[in-house]
Amino acid sequence: MSGLELFNVFILVFLVVAAVIALRVKDLLIASVVFGIYSFLMCLLWAEMGAVDVAFTEAAVGAGVSAVFLIATVFNVKRDSSD
């Protein structure tokens, strides 16, 4: 397996792990931060596939601003998820 493929597998595994953690964890603040990590991994994947414009948008919107929005919201609601 070449280095690039290994990198892809590494990102994909972490992507699934981050997605599962974001869904399973009780504390919504942790879920928001892990969701930001998920977005950043997606951004790496887009960049690696050559879709730099999409990667840029994902980094700015997904990993940056929407994570801030989620955290701002979590501070104003009950922090623990009921399910």
Binding site: D53, F56, T57, A60, V61, V65, F69, F75
Partner: protein, 252 residues
């Protein structure tokens, strides 16, 4: 019931994975997306038609300009909707603006505020760079606008919301969001009045001393500026509304 739900999820996931094996391999030149006449036309003609090196921006802002214009409108409507909903449902919060248990009274942290003071000009300069180079390198109005909006959010995070609202109040933000859409639609309408179709930027060459290709090149920057206006202001308005339960005062 729970077991049934898991079974459905696993089954659907398996089905999707099975369907994904039918996709063309990554970078396959024979794939239907690469092999279509539309792709070939864009790859061959974009540089000739518009002189824009970044094909993605040319497709977004020129060939599919109508689509991008209403994407901007969607962002504008989303911002207004969030403001309106939180203003209505946040009324109870106005009566009892009591402190949360994790709220602190301290003044803004010295290290944080000084770092932000240094960072914000650089972030804003980078936002302008991303915006202005949208048709040369990756970037454009959406990304530049989000980065610009993030710089205002950073000020609100480091100090508090009123300090950020001194620089960009939410009323002004919504006004500027509308101005952004007007810039976009105005360029399109101008092209229409000059005898072309809506958003047919090439017609602008009749009033500006540039070739038809360069008119499209520069008009793309124009509409990207419109998009950046809307995205910057809506991002800040959404943050201001979300972080204060629609009260638009106090810190996070």
């Amino acid at each position: 019931m729970r077991k049934l739900a898991v079974a459905v999820v696993v089954l659907t996931g398996g089905l999707l994975l099975y369907a994904a094996t039918d996709f063309a391999a990554w970078g396959d030149p024979e794939s239907p997306a690469s092999d279509s006449d539309v792709s070939k036309h864009f790859i061959a003609e974009t540089g000739v038609d518009t002189e824009v090196p970044n094909m993605v921006t040319a497709v977004l802002a020129d060939y599919r300009g109508f689509d991008t214009m209403f994407e901007t409108v969607v962002i504008f409507i989303a911002g207004i909707a969030i403001l309106a909903i939180l203003k209505l449902t946040g009324k109870d919060a106005t009566k009892t603006p009591g402190k949360r248990k994790d709220e602190v009274d301290d003044a803004p942290d010295l290290i944080v505020t000084h770092t932000v003071r240094l960072l914000v000009p650089i972030i804003q300069l980078f936002a302008f760079y991303v915006l202005a180079h949208g048709h040369v390198s990756p970037g454009g109005g959406f990304q530049g606008g989000v980065i610009m909006g993030a710089s205002f959010i950073l000020v609100a995070l480091a100090w508090d919301l009123p300090r950020a609202m001194d620089r960009l109040s939410v009323d002004r933000a919504i006004l500027l969001a509308g101005v952004g859409i007007l810039i976009y639609a105005g360029i399109g309408l101008l092209a229409m009045f000059l005898g072309g179709e809506f958003l047919d930027y090439a017609e602008l060459s009749t009033i500006f001393p540039v070739s038809r290709e360069m008119a499209r090149y520069h008009a793309m920057l124009g509409v990207e500026i419109g998009v950046a206006f809307t995205v910057t202001t809506v991002m800040f308005a959404i943050y201001a509304s979300l972080s204060s339960k629609g009260r638009l005062e106090g810190g996070l």
